[in-house]
Amino acid sequence: MDQLISANLVDLCAVLMLLTSVMAVATTRMKPLITLFSLQSVFLAAEAFIVAYTSGESHIYIMCALTLVLKVVVMPRMLLYIMGKIHVDKEVDLSIGIPGSLLASGFMIFVSYYIAEPLISTMETVERSCLAISLSIILIGLLMMCTRRKAITETIGLLMMENGLFLGAIALSHGMPLIVEIAAFFDVMVAVIIIGIFANRINKSFNSVDTSFLRRLKE
């Protein structure tokens, strides 16, 4: 593959990831949301594969494999399992409506591009536009966490943030040293487990995983 094609493919994957993010923001049902997340992870793996192939850095392959295993297979299943176990509604509650969320995510994308612009101009790697996209995905993930009321959707938001982060990591720096990546994955895993446990406990104590009920501790 020549340079141009690979650059285009990288951009394509990144854009697809962003697209899944935006779609996730607009999704009101739980299962499609999880599907979107695994789809995004697939694109992330693809991106990793392309970068690994182009740059010839073998450790990115490991990353690619990890992503496929953990984020495409394990994580969605685990989320579905938790969902089944604690009987979450199929509906996703939004605190601001879909148009509002979409507008906000559009704003986030704009902000990301604006912020990343001076950085991109000095960069020489092919994956320049990935910085802006990964920042957008992070911000949109955070936005999702702000607008979703259910504990599970918050988790998905966090995981999508992580995806954006890895997009940035892979694209910008051809993957950080492997140890970091593995560690990060590990951390995410543990986080998800804990979140799962707590979501369970929250369910027990509050009869719903709607986190907006968790409002006892305030001033």
């Binding site: 990343a116 918050e154 982060l165 990591a169 720096s173 990060a184 707590f198 501790l217």
Partner: protein
């Protein structure tokens, strides 16, 4: 490989295993403080030469005076908190609030928590530091949500979500730092802090700027900077009191350590950038905390806000950015770490005795539990910066640092806000001491209840009143290693 560190790591692993292995309720509550005392001793053995300027530098590990200061604080407060846990959790176990299994889990988690925090400061790569900070969150989540009450679950939930978001943001910052080192540092050592420092001026400045914002906001969430502080009062108020003390006194420092390392790099590359951000967050935190404190109702929440206030002060010190101010900030941090547990532990005593955290319902502490009342009063006066306690020296040297660099306005603002903090703390704490105690309030005594408080009070007094030349040199060394590879 440095033998001392290896011994320390081995001791950590061994004590963690031991604490997990011991099943007996009484035994584990003795073994665990003993283990943390051992860790403290080993840590002293390791850190004292480092503080004097002998940098540990081999493969995975890297310790300079800055990390030694942080590590010593963790070991010290960790020990005191373990000792206090004996009394605190012991009583809960006796009363049946805490089951035998939970009791074992508590001590195992506690020693792991302490160990992870200590390990965070020994490593060379900032990526691993990040990992350590992340791991502390995970471990401590269980401690925060230790009680299976609704509120505890809620607090733990908020804690883990917000802190995970925070460290994710910080990791993105790290990624950008890594990206900015491309072509400058060999990629295997790109995030090694000594290498970063060495090549600081060659990094991509634009990238570093953005990275610094992400890192300060990200780790700042865990430090408790306003407005990312929101998890902090919940977690501190819901955790068992020894854990609250530990969270406030050293966990926040861990995240601060993460910021500091990059702060140093950024200040070399781009002087005045990171420090300005720190200054802004410092004043935001100090100001917001001051107003939160005035009308607090919950004792431990108020103490949590006071932690935010102190983190703000420390950030202001780094924000000023001169060596004097950085040393002052480190001193203030040390002072806070030594002083804040006094408050949380004595608050723990009060809460166990009165069965409430509502300050308006706690009256007559000085009658019902004189020692605790004295400790609470001393702790309050110490934390708001009354002499002769260490926070006073910290705050004064902070002011000196600010004045030294011509920032009289910062001093004026700080003084005004500190006055509000004082008024707020005094308004809330001191009425609790006076008045007529309710009948159900009882005095709680015991060695492991008293000893930690005495140790901490002596420590804060000693730091405030007398400081041997060598100790001030240590702080000076630590300060100079913030902005430069030492030596």
């Amino acid at each position: 490989m440095n033998a001392d560190i290896l011994v320390l790591v081995a001791a950590m692993v061994a004590s963690s295993l031991l604490c997990i292995a011991v099943r007996n309720r009484k035994a584990v509550s003795t073994v665990m403080p003993a283990c943390s005392l051992l860790l403290l001793a080993l840590c002293l053995n390791l850190c004292v030469p480092v503080l004097g300027g002998e940098v540990v530098d081999d493969g995975v590990f890297w310790m300079d005076p800055l990390s030694a200061v942080f590590m010593l604080l963790v070991a010290f407060v960790g020990f005191v908190a373990s000792l206090y846990s004996r009394a605190y959790i012991g009583l809960e176990a006796e009363e049946g609030v805490v089951s035998r299994r939970e009791n074992g889990v508590y001590y195992s988690l506690l020693i792991v928590f302490i160990s992870v925090m200590m390990l965070t400061f020994t490593v060379r790569s900032m990526a691993v530091v990040w990992l350590g900070i992340g791991a502390t969150t995970l471990v401590s989540t269980f401690l925060v949500g230790f009680y299976s009450r609704d509120e505890s679950t809620e607090a733990a939930w908020k804690y883990i979500i917000l802190c995970s978001v925070g460290i994710t943001i910080a990791l993105f910052g790290l990624t950008l730092v890594y990206a900015s080192t491309v072509g400058v540092i060999d990629s295997d050592h790109a995030l090694d802090w000594p290498a970063l420092m060495e090549h600081a001026s060659e990094l991509d400045p634009n990238m570093m700027r953005m990275a610094m914002v992400l890192i300060i906001v990200g780790f700042g969430t865990k430090v408790g900077f306003f407005p990312m502080h929101t998890w902090l009062p919940d977690a501190h108020s819901q955790a068992p009191s020894p854990i609250s003390g530990l969270l406030s006194a050293v966990l926040l420092n861990c995240a601060m350590y993460g910021i500091l390392r990059f702060y140093g790099v950024s200040e070399v590359l781009d002087p005045g950038f990171a420090s300005t951000i720190m200054l802004v967050f410092g004043f935001l935190s100090l100001g917001a905390a001051a107003f939160f404190i005035i009308t607090s109702r919950d004792l431990k929440r108020m103490l949590a806000y006071s932690s935010i206030e102190n983190m703000g002060l420390i950030a202001i010190g780094f924000g000023i950015g001169t060596p004097v101010a950085i040393a002052a900030a480190l001193l203030q941090m040390t002072a806070h770490s030594v002083t804040k547990p006094i408050l949380f532990f004595s608050a723990g005593n009060v809460i166990q005795s009165y069965g409430t955290r509502e300050m308006s319902r706690i009256r007559g502490v000085s009658r019902s539990m004189p020692f605790t009342a004295a400790a609470l009063a001393v702790g309050t006066l110490a934390i708001v910066g009354c002499p002769p306690f260490s926070v006073f020296v910290g705050e004064l040297s902070l002011m000196l640092g600010a004045l030294d660099s011509g920032m009289a306005w910062a001093v004026a603002l700080t003084v005004a806000l500190l006055a509000i903090v004082f008024a707020g703390m005094a308004r809330n704490v001191f009425p609790m001491l006076s008045g007529e105690p309710p009948e159900y309030a009882r005095d709680l005594r015991g060695f492991s209840r008293t000893a930690p408080l005495v140790i901490l009070i002596v420590a804060t007094l000693a730091l405030g009143l007398f400081m041997a030349e060598s100790v001030s040199d240590w702080i000076g060394n630590a300060a100079s290693s913030v902005t430069g590879v030492f030596p």
